[in-house]
Symmetry: C2
Subunit: 223 residues, 2 copies
Amino acid sequence: MLPLSRFYLDGDKIVKSGPKVRDTYHHGDLRQALLAAGERELEENGIEGFSLRGVAKRAGVSHAAPLHHFKDTRVLLTALAAQGFERFLAAQKARQLKAETDGLSQLVASGMGYIDFALGHPAVFRLMFSSDRPDHEAPNLVAAASAAYGQLISDVARAHGREHDAQNPALVTEAMKAWALVHGLADLMTSGRLKYLLGLKKTEKERTLAKLLRESLAAPQRR
Amino acid sequence: MLPLSRFYLDGDKIVKSGPKVRDTYHHGDLRQALLAAGERELEENGIEGFSLRGVAKRAGVSHAAPLHHFKDTRVLLTALAAQGFERFLAAQKARQLKAETDGLSQLVASGMGYIDFALGHPAVFRLMFSSDRPDHEAPNLVAAASAAYGQLISDVARAHGREHDAQNPALVTEAMKAWALVHGLADLMTSGRLKYLLGLKKTEKERTLAKLLRESLAAPQRR
DNA sequence: ATAGAATCTTGACAATGGCAACATTACACG
DNA sequence: CGTGTAATGTTGCCATTGTCAAGATTCTAT
């Protein structure tokens, strides 16, 4: 008898299983469950402490079960990173919905969403931007990351009153500046630097960041 | 007989040792050798692929020898990160020596050095800024990182013609902006983003980056 | 010269990723 | 409806890794 029922034998002792035992041999939607469990594993243990067996345990399946859905740990982490990029983009759009509709305000809002996500999901953020464990060439990850990049170019173009054109060097340069500034803020904050900013209370932090972004991301006046 | 001499017994066969066999039981300066081996291990395998046994092998000692010099892997990685911060600061100063002496040029030079280091030692850079494996509270690491931070504040103060005062919020804000921009550029480049920049040939990249930094880091004209 | 400390090796153990063999269930097709 | 084949899970196994403990070798202070 497998430990699927509520009680099973351990040697000669009857042992009660944990609360998460399922009644069926098949899980139902293990793939989704693994992604969810993987997220928690990431948040609680960080990338370095991430273990496939730990994820399996969280999902309530045996240690090798995940391999039927993700070829190896790398593939699971790649999927988690791709999912991360989707939520990341969603966080930016959520901010934009609540902001003024002019180009600069929209760009600033996007930046705030970027930072929201980084602070809210620091481990996933690192997985997306600062880890070699995912396969950054994998089509699913490339697609998700590209969508976010496209949104950036589009926002910068709007803020500067130009056409969306990913080939235009001047525009790309402005996008680079904006991206680097926002990414730098997000990355430094998630790694506990920028103690000054992190020390502020929520509303103050919000105000300071918004002001900083608005000043820095504005198109240059003249020359 | 231990495999310290050129030949030793493996079962009943005489085996020739690899070229890196030492003649003495004691290594001499294993601590330094481990740091050097650790750097290579990092560059070649990345943080994720870093293994203590791999480092031991590179240094030509048994798998447990490192533990007499570094309590565990974390302590070794912490030392490598601290050493990284020293080289990081040195890279910035090296650029400053070759630059004009006005405040802005010095700040730009420092930023270029920051990026030099990140591109030259991407794995160490990640270890310093984007990894939980080192103990970022350890005194040696804190000291090395603080020295680099102090230099930043000092450079920003000079560029803005103010006193060096790590408590001054206006100054700290300017430092934050500068740091975030440069760090963002460095981090995004080391993770293979900013393809536009990475695609440029060396002198073009140099020129573009310097121009970008000079424009962005200049003190605001008036208001 | 020698005892104790420092350094290095060997051997062990637990945790992990991944493979292979097998058990159970789902499903397509007769 | 059956049935056999694919999909999904489990168990057992192996290699690698970090860490500890015990022993071997060398250094050093007295």
